[in-house]
Amino acid sequence: MKPGLRRTMGSKWWLWRGAYFLIMLRELSSVFIAAYLVFLLVLLHKVREGPAAYDAYLDFLWSPTMIVFHIVALAFATMHTITWFNLTPKAVVVRRGEERLHPALIAGPNYIAWVTVTALILWIVLK
């Protein structure tokens, strides 16, 4: 136990400033991403059960509540992706002699790969 007057952060510390609020949003995002994965697994299960079960489940997924849920989950997944892509220059430091490779050159390829894979998936889905 530390001696002296102990000043604790209390339960509302995450409302003190924007950066703290964002970290809590990022923590909360895991709930939505986990839920999305559960719905995806159920979808795979319905495929196995047959066309009728699959169509019924698709109707459920097209309900307004589920559409809102997916938009929120997508927003959280995007937030997560940007956070971790921006982290990569901190975790991977490449040096040429005394010079450090610019962080954008480490984070950039992640974004390029993201856009490329997204475009490829969109092309497959929409063609």
Binding site: K2, P3, G4, L5, R6, R7, T8, M9, W13, W14, W16, R17, A19, Y20, I23, E27, T83, L87, K90, A91, V92, V93, R95, G97, E98, E99, R100
Partner: protein
């Protein structure tokens, strides 16, 4: 009429106060004054009982860190002109016990700092007669940023993980562990690993990143911790290899 600015200063004298209070002081406003100048003005001319730490007045000693309007700042680098005409609230660094007024107890930080062995460890010391341990500029560049830490503890006041988990080794100590791990002259990485790569070390960090934001010396403790995580992860996977357990 001479301009003034109001400072709301955290006061706590354990021998007479049951709980902390804020006391307001009107101090002269000068363009070239920092918050530390205003505190010294109060101590010298208004209220000599006010206690706070300071030393160099030039962002080197790391003594004068306090919460200025809720943000951890070196008060020698926080200009009154950036707050004028609004009042400035000065408090001791959060997440630390308060000894008196703006003075915190830093024992916990010092204990954790020592635990990561922030000095060059050699398996076998070579005699002085054999000369210095030489290092190239490129080898120096690998750790130089992390060596700029002045132990001001602003990063601990900005870190909600340290605020919630007393056992967390914390940003500055982990950055300094990384500073020595990256030093080509050092051979103590394995010794530091037990503390720095433990659950209370790098793995406690959830990458809030505020330690890096508030650091007055651009040390980037969050970056140091992420580098440590990569090293620890690579070490773990090496252990999974058939020949990895020998090392």
């Amino acid at each position: 009429m001479a301009r003034t600015i109001k400072l709301e200063v955290f006061r706590y004298r354990p021998e007479i106060d049951d709980k902390p209070t804020f006391k307001s002081y009107e101090v002269p406003f000068r363009e070239d004054w920092v918050v530390l100048d205003a505190l010294n003005h109060i101590k010298d001319t208004v209220d000599g009982t006010l206690s706070f730490r300071w030393s160099c007045r030039m962002g080197v000693c790391g003594s004068c860190g306090m919460m200025v309007n809720g943000f951890p700042r070196l008060t020698c680098a926080a200009f009154l002109r950036d707050y004028y005409p609004h009042p400035i609230r000065v408090e001791p660094l959060v997440n630390f016990p308060v000894e008196r007024d703006l003075v915190i107890n830093m024992s916990d930080f010092l204990r954790k700092l020592k635990s990561v062995k922030p000095w060059i460890i050699r398996k076998e010391e070579t005699p002085v007669s054999e000369g210095e341990y030489l290092q190239t500029p490129a080898e120096l560049a690998r750790y130089k940023q992390f060596s700029m830490c002045i132990n001001c503890m602003l990063c601990y006041a900005a870190c909600p993980v340290y605020g919630r988990e007393e056992d967390f080794i914390g940003p500055a100590a982990l950055a300094l562990a990384q500073r020595y791990n990256l030093d080509s002259r050092d051979q103590g990485g394995q010794e530091r690993r037990a503390i720095a790569f433990s659950d209370e070390g790098i793995w406690e960090c959830t990458f809030v990143g505020e330690c890096t934001t508030v650091c007055p010396k651009n040390v980037d403790p969050a970056g140091a911790i992420q580098l440590g995580k990569v090293t620890a992860a690579i070490d773990y996977f090496k252990l999974l290899l058939p020949w990895g357990r020998k090392t």
